[in-house]
Assembly symmetry: C2
């Protein structure tokens, strides 16, 4: 393109906007639905009915904005995050993610090569997650009115007939499974911002989890009750949300929770608790006791669940609260995140 930085005119709707769409977005997000460039993308119903008969299937719809700083980090970037985060929110509802929208807010002066790197990363991640980016929008704000680049993605998917996941389905005695280590994403961002270096480098766990969820639904279609990805606020906050909404208590074993050495070291240095740190490629699952073993086996067979493990159990007697059992056997209540541990982590 003729310019090497983003100008206000790129957001005007005029010629430079069209150039950006055609030479950047259409090229990377290449698909026939986006290429129609109508005000709204239209997709045939039959695309959905391949996945679901009409009787009880449902449509899933979600959105997230991404404001992570820095926009490039070990293990990912804001574009990969924007695709994974929305794909994962759909997957947690049991949906097969299908279509994404992408809304960009660009700061005047952003380097076009940086934008292209982000867009290319979104395209690669979308292919890995088997979704298509079918509609989008770009706005440009004057220098100082945004910090380089914010992205919103919304996503739609189909929840197959018979799949019913949700915090209201969690029952006393259910087993709590975690797909891998905690804190990798949050501590990677934090260490980048603080300029910390460790012997074994930190890397974000940012990953699309729709394949892991599909494997779990196949292994135990009935025994899986609820899925969540512990992003902002970390595992502790996610478990508190589920405990509050389901009305049951949750007890987890501190010693069972996997945390990488480098993440633990970074947490200690910064005075943070890995239970409250954001993850972007992990899920927590609630399963019936009968289904737990086959679910765990299915998770461990998947690249994004190799370190999956049982971390606790639903216990009615803790009614609505999350209780942490320490390695020494003491029990303490694990609250929701209070205050602001890590701004602009996602």
């Amino acid at each position: 393109m003729d310019n090497d930085i983003i100008l206000l005119a790129h957001g005007s709707g005029g010629e430079l906007s069209h150039e950006l769409v055609e030479r950047l977005f259409l090229r990377h997000f290449d698909n026939p639905i986006l290429a129609q460039l109508e005000d709204a993308a239209t997709v045939p119903f039959s695309r959905f009915t391949l996945h679901a008969s009409r009787a009880s299937a449902r449509l899933a719809f979600t959105t997230d904005s991404y404001v992570v700083s820095p926009i490039f980090f070990p293990g990912g970037d804001i574009g990969k995050l924007a695709v994974c985060g929305t794909v994962n929110d759909l997957a947690m509802s049991g949906a097969t993610p299908l279509y994404l929208s992408a809304g960009f807010i660009l700061e005047e002066g952003l380097e076009l090569v940086e934008l292209e790197r982000v867009v290319a990363s979104m395209a690669t991640t979308a292919r890995a997650a088997s979704v298509q980016i079918v509609t989008g929008d770009t706005k440009v704000v004057d220098r100082g009115s945004a910090d380089r680049l914010f992205i919103n993605t919304a996503g739609i998917g189909v929840v197959p007939e018979g799949v019913e996941l949700g915090s209201d389905r969690v029952r006393d005695g259910d087993v709590v499974l975690l797909s891998g280590t905690l804190g990798d994403h949050g501590m990677t961002i934090m260490s980048q911002r603080e300029g910390l270096r460790f012997d074994s480098p930190l890397q974000s766990d940012c990953a699309p989890l729709q394949g892991l969820v599909a494997a779990m639904l196949q292994a135990a279609p009935q025994g899986l009750r609820c899925l969540r990805d512990p992003t902002r606020g970390g595992l502790a906050t996610t478990l508190n949300e589920i405990a509050t909404r389901s009305g049951v208590g949750i007890e987890i074993e501190e010693a069972a929770i996997p945390v990488r050495d480098a993440v633990r070291a970074a947490c200690e240095l910064l005075g943070l608790d890995p239970l409250y740190v954001a993850n972007e490629g992990k899920l927590v699952a609630f399963a019936s006791p009968e289904a737990a073993d086959s679910l765990l086996a299915a998770m461990r067979s998947h690249p994004y669940g190799r370190e999956a493990t049982v971390i606790g159990q639903v216990r009615a007697e803790h009614g609505g609260r999350v209780v942490l059992r320490t390695p020494l056997g003491a029990r303490r209540i694990l609250d929701m995140l209070v205050g602001d541990q890590l701004p602009r982590i996602c």
Copy 2:
């Protein structure tokens, strides 16, 4: 709520985030789908099939981010704009708008009363447009990293069976209809920013157009070929997009285009052409010659189409170009917007 400004902790995912969701968003956007607060909203397919049998109906999906400055202006605010803009993009595809997502990027320090005013306006507009806001997200960035408040909305709707609109359906001889005056939104924002005052005050035309489109589809289901809302870049840019994609030429009559006196005065003062100024409650329609009269009558019977008028015709001999016929009978080519006329207009 305990605080009267937005803090970074409102975006942490923790307790203050939950307070914001429950006391502000859930209260105003009140609906049972949002209230489930799962990672993705799920809606039953039957809700869609009420509107459309499965055979040829399609789902419409669109997104826009809103960065308008100032966030409150005569005739609307960023929240009303965020609902209308996305509802209108769905309506232009012939879809019945159904569900919206709302993603907020808030600057630390934003007054909560301002946010509440915007959220209440979104709720009112959503009711007027017969859509539900079913899923959302809030991020907070540090002071100076955004300008108060940006909103992204994505929307889904259903295109009823038999409705086929698009720039590829435009044919030689089609009549071009405009639903009302040009330039009201853009010149309102611009005058606010420049501190201009006029005898008859300017007001944004920001309005949800799904009702007007429904009336038009009912009046002439077959004769309506293509709908567009001339937002950023104005009517001239919208017509150029259609001419380019359809390959046909468009001739419009300058004298036929309605512009309010105050808008014309503001345009003259600022050296702007109303044909390039953004509108947020207007549409341009392409209709078969046989359907034009009944469409025009249907438009004029609707509150948002009272000043509808015929402004031109599709003329194959202008192949791919937009031609303006001046009051004196001269013809000149009307180009797409070049450069940046009005930043942060929507």
